[in-house]
C-alpha cells in the first residue's frame, strides 16, 4: 500500500528532516510539508497530530495524512543538534518498513484450520463407523432376555446378567476403596504436606503411576491380593486391583480440584479463627467437590471398561450364577465380550456386539453424570 506522496516529497520537507533527524519519519509527508513552511518543529507536529488523532478518530478513514506517534518517548525527547546525522537512518514511512502480506497470512490460517478440521473428522468418522458396526451387529440380540439371561453354550440362550452384576459389584467396591484413598491423598498433599523434596517425589511418582499399563496392575493384583492376601478369585480382589489402577487418576484430578480453590478463601477462613480441618471441611472441600467427583467418575468409567487386569486376577469366562457377595467368583462385561469374541461361532460375535452396546451405554451414562455434576455445582455460585 504505497502512497504516491512518498515519491514526490517536497524539498522543504526533506530539508526539514535533514535538520531535525528521524522524527520526521513519524509524521507522514503531508504533515511534514505542512509543517516545514511555518517553521514548527517536527515534534510539535507529531504531538499535535496525536491529539488530533484522539479528538477526531474519523480522520484516518478520510484518507487525510494523519498519524500518531507510537514510538517510545525516549526518541522524541532526546536532545538534538541541527544538521547532525542520526543513527539509524530511518525509512520514510511505515509502508516501507512493513510487508504485511495479509492475503498470504490469511491463507496460512485457513490451511491450518482445515487441517485441524480434518483431524477432527478422522476421529469422529472412525468412532461413528465403530459404533454403527457394533450396533448393526448387536442390536437384534439386545433383548430383555439377553440382559437378564445366564451365559450359555447356545448363543440363542446366552445372557449377560452375571457379567452386568459382576461389573456393578466391581464398580461399587472400586469406588468405595479408591474414593477415600484418592481424595485423602490429594488433600494431604495439597493442604497438609510440607513443601519439601519428599512431597515432590511422591507427587511426581503418582503422575508416573497413572501411566503404568493396566496389565501391570493386574500382575500386582494377582501377586498381592489373590495370592498373598489369599482373596482368591473374588470380586474384592478385582476391585482392589482396579482401585489401585485408578487411584493415581483420582489423586491427580482431586489435587487439581483442590488447587483450583483460590488461596484467598483459605486465608479468609483462617482469619476468622478456623482450624485447618475447618477450612478444609467447610470451605475448600465443598468448592473442590465437583472437580473431585468428575475426576472420580471418569476414572471409574475407565475401571469398568478394563478387561486385562481383571483377567489376570481371575475373572471367569463362564459364570452360571449371579454373584451376591464381594467374595464370590465373578465375571465382568469387558471380559464377557472378550470371551464371546474368542468363540468361533458368528452368533457369539453378535452377542459380543450386543454386550459392547451395553458397556458403551454404561460408560456414556457415567460420563454424562460427571458432566451433569460439574455443571450443576459450578453453576450454583
Amino acid at each position: 500500500m504505497k502512497r504516491p506522496e512518498n515519491e514526490k516529497e517536497s524539498a522543504a520537507a526533506r530539508a526539514e528532516r535533514a535538520r531535525t533527524g528521524p522524527p520526521a519519519s513519524l509524521v507522514r509527508d503531508g504533515d511534514a510539508r505542512r509543517a516545514a513552511p511555518v517553521g514548527r518543529t517536527v515534534e510539535s507536529v507529531a504531538a499535535g497530530d496525536a491529539v488530533e488523532g484522539i479528538a477526531n478518530p474519523g480522520g484516518a478513514v478520510r484518507g487525510a495524512s494523519r498519524s500518531v506517534d507510537l514510538r517510545p518517548q525516549v526518541g522524541r525527547s532526546a536532545p538534538r543538534t541541527p544538521g547532525q546525522e542520526r543513527e539509524p537512518p530511518s525509512p520514510r514511512s511505515s509502508s516501507d518498513r512493513f510487508e504485511p502480506r495479509i492475503a498470504a497470512r490469511a491463507r496460512m490460517g485457513t490451511v491450518f484450520a482445515v487441517m485441524c478440521f480434518l483431524a477432527t473428522i478422522v476421529g469422529i468418522v472412525v468412532l461413528a463407523a465403530l459404533l454403527i458396526d457394533i450396533v448393526s451387529d448387536g442390536w437384534q440380540r439386545l433383548t430383555p432376555a439377553f440382559l437378564n439371561g445366564m451365559p450359555s453354550r447356545l448363543a440363542e440362550r446366552a445372557g449377560i446378567k452375571p457379567a452386568l452384576v459382576g461389573s456393578a459389584w466391581a464398580l461399587a467396591l472400586t469406588a468405595i476403596i479408591a474414593f477415600p484413598l484418592g481424595v485423602g491423598t490429594a488433600i494431604w498433599l495439597e493442604e497438609y504436606a510440607p513443601d519439601h523434596r519428599l512431597t515432590r517425589i511422591i507427587e511426581t511418582n503418582i503422575a508416573n503411576l497413572a501411566g503404568v499399563p493396566s496389565i501391570v496392575y493386574g500382575i500386582l493384583g494377582l501377586a498381592l491380593f489373590v495370592r498373598a492376601l489369599a482373596l482368591g478369585r473374588s470380586i474384592l480382589a478385582a476391585a482392589l486391583t482396579l482401585a489401585l489402577l485408578i487411584l493415581p487418576v483420582i489423586i491427580i484430578a482431586s489435587q487439581e480440584a483442590v488447587k483450583a480453590v483460590p488461596n484467598s478463601i483459605r486465608l479468609g477462613a483462617f482469619a476468622l479463627g478456623a482450624t485447618r480441618w475447618e477450612a478444609v471441611r467447610y470451605q475448600i472441600l465443598p468448592l473442590a467437590l465437583p472437580g473431585i467427583l468428575t475426576g472420580t467418575i471418569l476414572a471409574l468409567s475407565r475401571a469398568v471398561g478394563e478387561a486385562a487386569p481383571v483377567i489376570l486376577v481371575g475373572a471367569l469366562a463362564f459364570i452360571p450364577f449371579v454373584p451376591s457377595s464381594p467374595m464370590d467368583q465373578y465375571t465382568v462385561v469387558p471380559f464377557q465380550i472378550y470371551a464371546w469374541v474368542s468363540k468361533p461361532q458368528p452368533a457369539f460375535l453378535e452377542l459380543a456386539a450386543a454386550a459392547s452396546i451395553v458397556l458403551i451405554v454404561l460408560l456414556l451414562t457415567m460420563n454424562a453424570a460427571a458432566i451433569y455434576l460439574r455443571n450443576r455445582y459450578s453453576r450454583k455460585y
Binding site: 486465608l267 479468609g268 476468622l272 482450624t275 470451605q283
Partner: protein
C-alpha cells in the same frame, strides 16, 4: 527511628518489640518496635515491599501460614506475647480479625458468610441477630437484608468488602487489621469503607495498611511510615503529614520516591 508517641500503659492494645520477620532468610521486617493504642486507627504507609503488610500479619499470626516465614522478637496483644508458648494462632485470629486487599467472600450465601466464623467458634446466642448486627456494623444491612440467602458473589466489589468486614466483626474481635482494604475499590466504595473505619474505631482498634496517603491522612489517628522493613517515623497523623521529622518521610509523602 522515632517512635515518639506516648500511650498510657493500660491503653496499649498491640505492641511489637524488636520484631523481625524473615522470608527464607531475607528480612522483610527488621527490629520493629511500635505500640498501637486501644480504639484508635493506626495507618501503616510506605512504598511497596517495605514490610507494612508483613508487620500487619504478625499481629494475627497469618505469617504462620507462609512457608519459610520466621518471626523473631515479640508481638504483644494486651500485654501478652502472641508468639508465646501455649498461644494458639486460631484463638489469636478470632480476637484479632483481618480484612484483605481483595474482597474474598466465601462462595456461599451472604448469611452463611457472616455465620461461618461464629459457627466454628461455637457461638451459642441467636445467630440471626448476630448476623444482622454484624451487617449493620459494616453498613451493609440495608442493602442486603432482603436477600441474605443469595450468593455473596452477586454483590458489588464494595459490598463484598463490607461483607468481609461484617464477617470479620461477627466473631467479636477486639482488633481489626485491614490490609489495603480499599485499594481494589472505586472511589465511592472506598469512601464508604473509610466512613466505616471511622465508625468502627468506637469499638475496635483498627490497624490499616494503605498505599493511599490521602486515605491514611483521612482515616487514621496515628501513622507509621515504614521503609525497607523499618519504622522510619511514627506519630500523630496530622503531625507526620504536615511536619515530618525525618527526611525520608518527607520525601515519601511529597512523592519524591516510592
Amino acid at each position: 527511628m522515632s517512635t515518639a508517641i506516648q500511650i498510657p500503659p493500660g491503653e496499649v492494645e498491640l505492641e511489637a518489640r524488636d520484631l523481625s520477620v524473615l522470608y527464607g532468610g531475607t528480612p522483610a521486617v527488621r527490629n520493629v518496635s511500635i505500640a498501637i493504642p486501644d480504639r484508635q486507627v493506626v495507618a501503616f504507609i510506605g512504598p511497596s515491599g517495605c514490610g507494612k503488610s508483613t508487620l500487619l500479619r504478625c499481629f494475627n499470626r497469618m505469617n504462620d501460614l507462609i512457608p519459610g516465614a520466621e518471626v523473631t522478637g515479640a508481638a504483644l496483644f494486651q500485654g501478652s506475647n502472641l508468639y508465646g508458648s501455649g498461644v494458639d494462632a486460631v484463638d489469636v485470629r478470632r480476637r484479632i480479625g483481618m480484612v484483605f486487599q481483595k474482597p474474598n467472600p466465601f462462595p456461599k450465601s451472604i448469611y452463611d458468610n457472616v455465620a461461618f466464623g461464629p459457627r466454628i467458634n461455637g457461638y451459642k446466642g441467636n445467630m440471626d441477630a448476630l448476623v444482622e448486627r454484624s451487617l449493620r456494623q459494616a453498613a451493609l444491612w440495608d442493602e442486603v437484608k432482603d436477600r441474605l440467602d443469595s450468593s455473596a458473589l452477586a454483590l458489588s466489589g464494595g459490598q463484598q468488602q463490607r461483607l468481609c468486614i461484617a464477617r470479620a466483626l461477627s466473631v467479636e474481635p477486639e482488633v481489626l487489621l485491614m490490609d489495603e482494604p480499599a485499594s481494589a475499590l472505586d472511589p465511592i466504595a472506598s469512601q464508604k469503607i473509610e466512613d466505616l473505619i471511622y465508625e468502627l474505631k468506637q469499638h475496635y482498634t483498627v490497624v490499616i495498611v494503605t498505599h493511599n496517603m490521602q486515605q491514611a491522612a483521612r482515616v487514621s489517628d496515628f501513622t507509621a511510615f515504614l521503609y525497607m522493613g523499618e519504622v522510619v517515623e511514627y506519630g500523630p497523623t496530622e503531625g507526620l503529614f504536615t511536619n515530618p521529622k525525618e527526611e525520608r518521610t518527607e520525601a515519601y509523602i511529597t512523592g519524591r520516591f516510592g
